[in-house]
Symmetry: C2
Subunit: 149 residues, 2 copies
DNA sequence: AAGTTGTCTTGAGTTATTCAAAACAACTGA
DNA sequence: TCAGTTGTTTTGAATAACTCAAGACAACTT
C-alpha cells in the first residue's frame, strides 16, 4: 500500500506542476505521518529510505512544495519552521508552552469579524493568523505530578 | 527633559525589582522612540550614548526586561525577534509582507469568543495570539507606481 | 533515445541568538 | 560615606537554523 500512496503523492506533485522525485515523495510521506515537523525531523524520517540525501535537499524540497502550495509552513515563536500537508482550510494551531507540541485547531466559524482589525492603520490586510498557547495533556499530567511531590 | 524621562524609566526599573543601569535605561529609551525594534536596531540606537556597549549586553538587557514584564517580545514569522514597551493590553500586530514594517492593532473588543478554540484537544489554553499580514501604505504606493510603469 | 530543464548533492557561508567566565557597578547595611 | 554582596555587563567564543552557489544528475518532452 506504500506504492498506492506513493502513486497518489506523485499525482499530487504532477498536478502542482512539479517533477516527481524520490526526495519529494519521501518528504510528503513523512509529513503525512508526522505533521508539524521541522526540517531536521523530516530529514531524519526520510534518511532511512533515501540514504544519500542531505538536510539541504530537504530544505530545498520543503521550499519548492511550500511555494507550489502543497505544504504550509508555520513558524511559532521560539520554534524552528514546521511544515504540514493540511492546507487550504485556514485552520489554526495550539502550541504547548512546555514541550512545544503542536496541534491543529479548527477555525472557529461564524466569528470572522473578529479577525478584521478595528484600525489597520492604512494597511491592506491579506491574512489573519491565530496561534494559541497552552499546556498539552501530557505536560499537564507531568506538572500535576510534580506539584504533588 | 531627557533627565526627566530617565528618572521615570529608573523608577520603572526599580519598581520591577531590577537594578538601574545605563544600558537598561538606554534600551528602554530606545524602545520608547522606536518600538518594534530588533536587538541589532536597538544596539545601533544605544551605541552613541553608550560607546562601550555590546550587542550581547543588549540581548541580556532585553531578556531581563522581558522576564520582568517590562517588555513584550514578538516574533513574527520571517523576522528576528522584536521588542516593544506597550504591554499588558494584549494588542495585536500587523506586519507588512513587503517591508516587514510592524504596526499595533488594538484588540477588537466584544469578540472574545472567537479567540476560544472550538476544540483545544485537551490543551489548557493560556493565550491567543493574533497576527495580521498585509501591505503598508508606503508599499501600496510603491506597488501602484510600479504597476503603472 | 537524446536533449533540455529543473532538481539534488556537496560544501561553504550567514545571521540571529546563546553560553561562560571574568571584570565591574548598583544597592545594602555599617 | 564606604565596604561588601549580589547581580550586570563585557569579552570572547559557540551554536542552530537556514541560505547560497556550482557542478552532477535525473525527470519529463519530442
Amino acid at each position: 500500500m506504500e506504492t498506492v500512496t506513493d502513486a497518489a503523492l506523485a499525482d499530487t506533485l504532477r498536478e502542482a506542476g512539479l517533477k516527481v522525485t524520490e526526495p519529494r515523495v519521501a518528504v510528503l510521506t513523512a509529513l503525512t505521518e508526522i505533521p508539524h515537523s521541522d526540517a531536521d525531523t523530516i530529514f531524519g524520517a526520510v534518511l532511512p529510505s533515501l540514504p544519500g540525501t542531505s538536510l539541504q535537499a530537504v530544505y530545498g524540497v520543503l521550499a519548492a512544495l511550500t511555494t507550489a502550495g502543497l505544504l504550509r509552513k508555520i513558524e511559532p515563536a521560539g520554534s524552528s519552521a514546521l511544515y504540514e500537508r493540511r492546507i487550504g482550510d485556514n485552520h489554526h494551531h495550539i502550541v504547548c508552552t512546555e514541550c512545544s507540541a503542536v496541534r491543529d485547531v479548527d477555525c472557529v466559524v461564524g466569528h470572522a469579524p473578529c479577525l478584521t482589525p478595528s484600525d489597520a492603520g492604512g494597511f491592506t490586510v491579506h491574512t489573519a493568523e491565530v496561534n494559541f498557547w497552552g499546556v498539552c495533556p501530557d505536560c499537564q499530567n507531568a506538572l500535576t505530578q510534580k506539584s504533588a511531590d
